[in-house]
Symmetry: C2
Subunit: 728 residues, 2 copies
């Protein structure tokens, strides 16, 4: 039976690929060397942070694009055609090895086989080309290299570049017109008005109604003096002129009234303006700045609080999904791998915007040589590997792995070179072992079990990717390293005494502390047998005396692990308590940190500063992921949703309904106590559910797989409607 199935899979793949190529040839787009645009844009964006009016750049290495890039394309034309060329940079054009004069903007190419090369130099912005002709169009099928190695010998013969030159397929985003220059990229903006204003102290406090991001605008401004603008995610912050995190001081000198938009974008809900006596303006508004994205995922249920949580989560993710997935919009406005990894997962259940994932993955990796962990954080290196493979699993697109595989290997080489004599990784000079901003004390020294676990998962990921890249030798190497490390993790850190993983080993001495991190990730990675799973659930995850997580960051994985263990009811309560708790405190976006258990919870301060905490932090938005994956219950079971599963779980809800996006469509799920409806635009799904009665579905087979357990197939485009009886 195996062979026919294989054949079908292959045929489908070929169709998909042919379709992709056909689609590509339809329109021209600006192209560049993979990763280069992302790195350049990342430099621009991550160097925009200010702290109280002072430039505040990252502390890790920022790379640069290749300043000299060659683009090439083999052509086979039925008829002569003329192409238009637009280039960002100084360039030359070579047709069949012969240089054309000057900087041609139009080139006519005769019928037949030809080789077209365009070589571009650009120091300030990314070398990029846009080529458009009747059939010739710049797209991902073009090849690029940063060293063509073509030299001319004494007799005038060009060297053979076919074996010694490394080419990649060109990369693009969505600059699909000649005048949409990649170097001129700007997010979209939209004018918004303040909802109220109030005289306070020596100025006016404006409230924009909810957390937002953009450029404050003074309408009809005139006079001479300085505008002092203090931004706040809270009114307290905006009014604290000497402690608010961001501010602007704008010199004004204009006799006639003119609208003035502040040049630096900021995050705020409140803006407090103090101006000097001889300035006047008619009103204050703003330009809201955002990445235009479709909300492809959705969730609605009978619990309005949960609906509100989903909405606030979606808005939080949207605000932090910009040039890249960033951590928070007030600070750091940087790309952090651990934060981004969560954004990727949430994105698959909301925007399904693959370019945002790929851009972020590229900018995080930067270029060789690897001189430190990603963001200098050991755990963040490991999340990066995991994110690359997830991208393939959700999108079905192998290209990201293809483009990144050499950089994946060199990053893993860096890790492997930093193992200790036990084959484990521990923080060396310059390494930041982060894990979490926890309220309890934990050691980051020695061999931290959590880091070994992520390292092990990263090695497994490398083995999978090596396989995809037809590199069986390295796949075997990584698999062996992973399984050896896994044995060590269990041998060293699993404590029969505590029936859980302990935190670390320092100078050969095992810790007696049980922290949640290693334990809950071991559940998520499927590393535990039934007994150990139960032990972790009872001793760590559901143990009221266990150490408490107080960041949404780690609550993400904690609650996911509980969902994976079927604790959806419990998790719903936690969501209401934690995220509902923030909303009850007035949150319009979710926060970097929140501890509802504290007596006088610190709502605004962090990092030793009274307004240091970010009140719009991507890692706060996890309910959108949990609700999509573990309540609507949709996830891919093979790359790109070719197959997927739907396991709806109401928890304590009466009904729920929503969409989970897939690469080219969505899976719609509606579920109440008596009926489940599922419809999908693509792929072949398996619906699994429990029912207290024998379920009924018109025109489709429902298979019983166990006690009250049922399963059925969902075909593309055909709605499945099942009558059943919820057992919860």
């Amino acid at each position: 039976m195996k062979k026919p199935i294989k054949r079908i899979v292959v045929a489908t793949l070929l169709l998909v690929m042919a379709g992709a190529e056909f689609a590509m040839a339809q329109k021209a787009t600006w192209i560049w060397y993979p990763g280069d645009y992302e790195i350049w844009l990342g430099n621009k964006m991550q160097n925009r942070r200010t702290e109280r009016g002072t430039f505040f750049p990252p502390f890790w290495k920022m790379d640069s694009h290749y300043v000299l890039v060659e683009f090439s394309k083999k052509l086979d034309l039925k008829t002569e055609e003329t192409i238009r060329l637009k280039v960002e940079g100084q360039y030359n054009v070579k047709l069949d090895g012969k240089l054309l004069f000057g900087y041609p903007e139009n080139v006519t190419i005769p019928a037949g086989k030809h080789l077209l090369n365009i070589k571009v130099h650009n120091q300030s912005t990314v070398p990029a080309i846009f080529v458009d002709g009747p059939t010739i169009k710049s797209d991902n099928s073009w090849l690029v290299t940063f060293e063509d190695k073509e030299w001319i010998d004494e007799s005038g013969k060009a060297s053979d570049t076919s074996s010694g030159t490394v080419y990649l397929n060109a990369a693009s985003w969505n600059f699909n017109a000649p005048d949409e220059l990649p170097s001129q990229f700007k997010l979209a903006t939209e004018p918004k008005a303040a909802v109220s204003s109030e005289k306070k102290n020596n100025g006016t406090l404006y409230d924009f109604g909810k957390e937002t991001f953009g450029y404050v605008k003074f309408n009809g401004l005139k006079g001479k003096g300085t505008l002092n603008i203090y931004y706040g995610e809270s009114p307290e912050e905006a009014l604290s002129t000497d402690q608010c995190e961001t501010l602007d001081r704008i010199p004004v000198d204009q006799a006639t009234a003119r609208d003035v938009t502040v040049s630096g974008s900021k995050a705020f809900r409140y803006v407090y303006v103090e101006d000097e006596a001889n300035l006047s303006y008619s009103s204050v508004s703003m330009l809201y700045e955002y990445l235009p994205l479709d909300y492809k995922g959705s969730f609605r249920c009978n619990d309005e609080q949960l609906n509100k949580i989903w909405d606030v989560g979606a808005y939080t993710l949207h605000l932090t999904t910009r040039e890249f997935f960033i951590d928070g919009i007030k600070r750091d406005r940087w790309v952090w791998s651990g934060d981004a990894y969560q954004s990727y997962l949430m994105n698959y259940y909301l925007f399904f915007d693959s370019p945002s994932v790929s851009r972020t993955t590229f900018v995080l990796r930067g270029k060789d040589p690897v001189t430190s962990h990603i963001n200098t954080i050991m755990d963040y290196t490991f999340y990066w590997f995991m994110g690359v493979y997830d991208y393939y699993q959700y999108t079905g697109n192998k290209q990201l792995i293809e483009q990144l595989y050499p950089r994946m290997k060199s990053l893993m080489d860096y890790c492997l070179s930093r193992r200790n004599s036990e084959g484990m990784m521990q923080g060396l000079a310059g390494d930041w072992v982060f894990i979490d901003w926890a309220d309890f004390k934990m050691s980051k020294a020695g061999e931290v079990s959590f880091e070994q676990l992520l390292f092990c998962r990263s090695l497994e990921t490398m083995a999978l990717c090596a396989n995809l890249m037809n590199d069986p030798e390295n796949s075997a190497k990584y698999s062996k390293l992973a399984s050896d490390l896994k044995s060590k993790i269990f041998n060293v850190f699993w404590s029969p005494q505590y029936n859980a993983f302990v935190h670390n080993r320092e100078n050969g001495k095992l810790s007696t502390q049980v922290t949640p991190f290693t334990n809950m990730f071991a559940v998520l990675f499927g590393y535990l047998d039934q007994d150990k799973t139960k032990a972790v659930k009872d001793n760590v995850l559901l143990n009221p005396n266990a150490l408490k997580i107080t960041t949404p960051y780690m609550r993400f994985y904690e609650l996911e692990a509980l969902c994976a263990l079927g604790e959806q009811k419990y998790v719903l309560k936690e969501i209401r308590d934690y995220w509902g708790g923030m909303i009850n405190l007035g949150a319009t976006t979710f926060w970097e940190k929140y501890n509802p258990q504290e007596k006088n919870p610190e709502l605004l301060g962090m990092y030793g500063r009274p307004f240091g905490k970010s009140l719009c932090h991507a890692w706060g938005a996890s309910p959108i992921y949990l609700l999509g994956k573990y309540y609507l219950g949709v996830k891919p079971t093979s790359p790109g949703y070719q197959t997927y599963s739907v396991e709806p779980c109401l928890g304590d809800l009466q009904w729920m309904e929503g969409d989970v996006p897939t690469p080219n469509g969505k899976v719609h799920v509606a579920c109440n106590q008596k009926e489940i409806r599922v419809k999908s635009d693509e792929g072949t799904g398996t619906l699994r559910f429990k029912s207290a009665s024998k379920p009924v579905c018109k025109g489709a087979e429902v298979k019983q797989t166990g006690d009250k357990q049922y399963e059925m197939t969902i075909l593309k485009g055909q709605e499945v409607v099942v009558k059943y009886k919820n057992v919860e």
Copy 2:
């Protein structure tokens, strides 16, 4: 006896270092991350080449500067002081860990101990700072890093960067005023007039009298139309409108007369201008563009032809010593390692401009990762290593090795990773094995003996540098690799049959061809015993039937080897024949290639193009090196001319006189048949000479060291005058 000597050496070194530091603190200069300015300037310069009006960039990887750099300095102030700050880029200033507001231009620092950090972001040009205060001045004592790794924990505590952050000393050139922005660097220019003009065909041919470089200028230009400008190193080239290598087509549209300078610099002696009927101008002149340099070295003798050769050589080297040492001024105008290595050596005998050597060394190396050989050429990688050590030997400055040592190691790792199973290097995919543009056929495949010889020398160089860097482990490793390889070279390639090294081994089969390259370099490296030296001299170097070298490039080493063997008389004849031959043919600078033995020598064509040959090529200038090192006879015997030797050799000359520059002065040598005079500004020299009679020197001891062999010491500042009788 050993101990006192050591103590003296150490004391001297300390004095030198203290002196250097004292000198540094005297003035502020623009500083940056080592190599970054060079790489940036190299991108700018090497992407200026055009070929017949088309942009013609290099074919190797071009790196970029770090876009985000932190500068820091520990201060200990006796009194409060205010510094002025000028920065290229967006920046912040941190004093004792506290960020100052905005972009401060003046900072007052209280008395006492402080830490000052300035962090700069600049994508387009190199992050650079200029700091000037009464005692605080930006100079090479400042530290720089491209990843400071300073993060802030949840409590606000900054991480410890003392162990995990890699700092280097800042680099500088000679931008010593706040307004001399490194990004605005331009070579000097000087107006020059054409010496004659002549109506030809449809235009006018202007002759500037000799080879030159710069910008053509049209004085009093007016009208509407296109100026067609054809450049020629020869009149034939300028007049060949469809084959000349460089040209400009300038659209003109101006009713009133105005001077117009063409924007792209070109190499030429002749300029042929064709303009459209309705254009007029009063005259054509040029702006000669050059790097201002002192001619510290000099040479004069009784042979006027030799004096002329020296002058033309010096001018050739000056024209090709620009932002960097380039190959030729017409083309490629790129930095080539093999060419540059010769420029370094010539420079030590003419300008002694160390910054030009260090700039060129940095730009050639670029950054990690190493993805190909330097300029993609295997031999050029090896010359690079040799050049770094020579720099130390001639200048006595260890800093270049300090800054480059990590990049030296990674480049050597690249080489080591490309050895075959025999431990030898052979051209792999993408490698260019160059050796020379020879007129005879030679294989570049398999194990080329010449490449192994350079590889061996590079390993020896690495061992020396590792020692200097207090890295005994690697020094031992490189030494062992070198000696193993050396044995192999002799075992495999030394042919008892031919009594010389044979050319290569391909698929296990040894070649029977004896080429000059390996043999003459083995002499220069001192690898041969007396018998083998004699064999090489007789069978290769002085054998009229041996394969002939026809580039000044390899004649450089051929004649140097002969000089090293005492054949100065023979070499003078060769110089007169070869370089004198070019002058007799009208050369005003020396050429890329010249074969006086050809019947109808190809004077202008190369690379399959009628005017492809460069008529001003750095590697053509070797007589200035040979005359300084082997006739005046001056060379360092310990780093920086702390000790040196002077071995004057007249060859067939009656008299000669000249200067050889040293780091802080010069050695003056005057010599005729009866008298030798030597005076030096620094170091301790040893004068060695032959005399047919017992030499006499007032007030100094002359030691006889062999038959007619004498030796005496030259002390700093004291002229030695010896009466002797030349034996030649």
